[in-house]
Amino acid sequence: MSAISFQQVEKTYGSGVQALAGVSFDVQPGEFFGLLGPNGAGKTTLISILAGLARATRGRVTVMGHDVVDDYAAARRSLGIVPQELVFDPFFSVRETLRIQSGYFGVRGNDGWIDELLAGLGLADKANANMRQLSGGMKRRVLVAQALVHRPPVIVLDEPTAGVDVELRQTLWQFIARLNREGHTVLLTTHYLEEAEALCQRIAMLKKGRIVALERTSTLLAGTAHTMLRFKTDHPLPPSLAERARVTGRFAQVSARDAADVEAVLAQLRESGVPVEDLEIGRADLEDVFLGIMTDEAPK
């Protein structure tokens, strides 16, 4: 049995916008799975359908074998969702928030686990603080704790590190990685591709409501034989290079197919007289794979 199963999921909103055009994939129990895609690709819609916040126009979704519509109570008990938006209830303290959330899932006398969550997420000294008094990062931690109060076997994190400082990112990933080691299934969407590369065993890429890649992370990376040239320059690149380069301020990256291509790029730089600093030649990372797939016009 899959931990999560999407079967031919389609979603068309009332406005006629098609957010998902037949998405199918399974996440196995115990997996750390990444769902990537640019803004508007349909990631949040897919997760909303999984969580019961939205309804699929067609298709079927199950969590631990429970249909999210016909058997919603069992499906939602198996699922812990960390929403993307930083939302909170201003009436309550951190501990009250977590006790209330436990109650919704029928879990009573949950203070032992709540204390463990507070400690694991670095919130122990904020337990009695009102939600309004917390910083953004602290509120984010409470969101994670809220998603976990009922010890769900499947955890979904929708952009959990957006706008989060380095320290929290470390705390968060250590905690989630521990839960994953203990057998929890994790589905993650993120814009930070290095996080996905480091954490996820498998990755699905979504583009315009369709799956355009679904592979083991290592296979995805191996599949691109590309080499990357990275360097800094203060000068504009020659047109032949400019059109294939990714430029961020002074940083430029050019992908090359093979050693001969690397030579050709270097030759072009030399001939155009563009001075270059800190030249590195390395393998493509997930970001390069991602951009390669997303800029490819025809969906695979």
Partner: protein, 258 residues
């Protein structure tokens, strides 16, 4: 699938949270409406005491008190469920509830139940304070409780519908100002509908709030404009209709699950 016992067990934590929510700001949610009602009593009671006589042996101030109590019960029951829902919708924290296994019936029970608690708490507050000015007497406590609780439940359910429907605070305010306020004001809180000219008298008979207040008042004086049994039938039928609609909206995920 969901037995009544399960629904009650599921509703309990949400009910408790909803009660805690208004109790934490009781100054605004309980004390303020009590003060408003006392102001009405002081002003109208003073101005109209010697001019209006509705029932034998019942002074105007005494006549006014049950009406004010019931008006406070109804308005506050409505305010509780509607404002809680719209706040959660607008701030986005309704998501914490949407991802839980709670059934639509549990939602209904919890929101309506908490609205009854708030309505009755405010009503009891108004009663306590105003009784100090003029004890209204108590002919039949059963009618007082039946109409107080049923009326609050109907308004709690109506607030649930309004809270689901409204997407902005001003839409909810419009619902409150253009529907709830006129219906409570024109229901005989301040007068007996018998004193109204024909067409308004007839119109009052179509207003379910009139029956709630008239039945409630019967509990205090043993006299009323219509039989309390008629009022009970109207109030029960309105509750069933409103509750049915609220449950249907919750089941369909109206404006909740897109």
């Amino acid at each position: 699938m969901s037995s009544p016992m399960l629904v009650v067990a599921g509703a309990r934590p949400l009910f408790r949270k909803e009660v805690l929510r208004f109790w934490k700001v009781a100054f605004q949610t309980v004390a303020a409406p009590v003060l408003t009602a006392v102001m009405y009593l002081l002003v109208f009671g003073h101005v109209l005491e010697d001019r209006v006589h509705v029932y034998e042996n019942v002074s105007y101030t005494r006549f006014l008190i049950p009406g004010l109590v019931m008006m406070s019960v109804l308005q506050n029951a409505f305010a509780n469920s509607s404002s809680s829902l719209i706040q959660s919708k607008i701030t986005g924290n309704l998501v914490f509830l949407l991802v839980t296994p709670l059934s639509p019936a549990a939602w209904f029970l919890a929101y309506t139940g908490a609205a009854v608690v708030r309505g009755v708490a405010v009503g009891a507050g108004v009663m306590l304070v105003t009784a100090w000015f003029a004890p209204p007497g108590l002919a039949n406590v059963g009618w007082v409780l039946v109409f107080g609780v049923f009326g609050a439940a109907m308004m709690g359910a109506l607030g649930l519908i309004a809270g689901l429907w409204a997407e902005k605070f001003d839409q909810l305010a419009a619902f409150q100002n253009f529907i709830i306020m006129p219906m409570t004001f024109l229901s005989g809180v301040f007068y007996s509908v018998h004193s109204l000219p024909g067409v308004w008298h007839a119109a009052s008979r179509l207003n379910p709030f009139f029956y709630m207040i008239d039945g409630f008042r019967h509990g205090f004086f043993g006299v009323s404009d219509v039989s309390p049994w008629t009022s009970l039938a109207v109030v029960a039928a309105s509750f069933v209709a409103v509750a049915g609609l609220a449950l249907a909206l919750l089941r369909s995920g109206y404006k909740l699950r897109h």
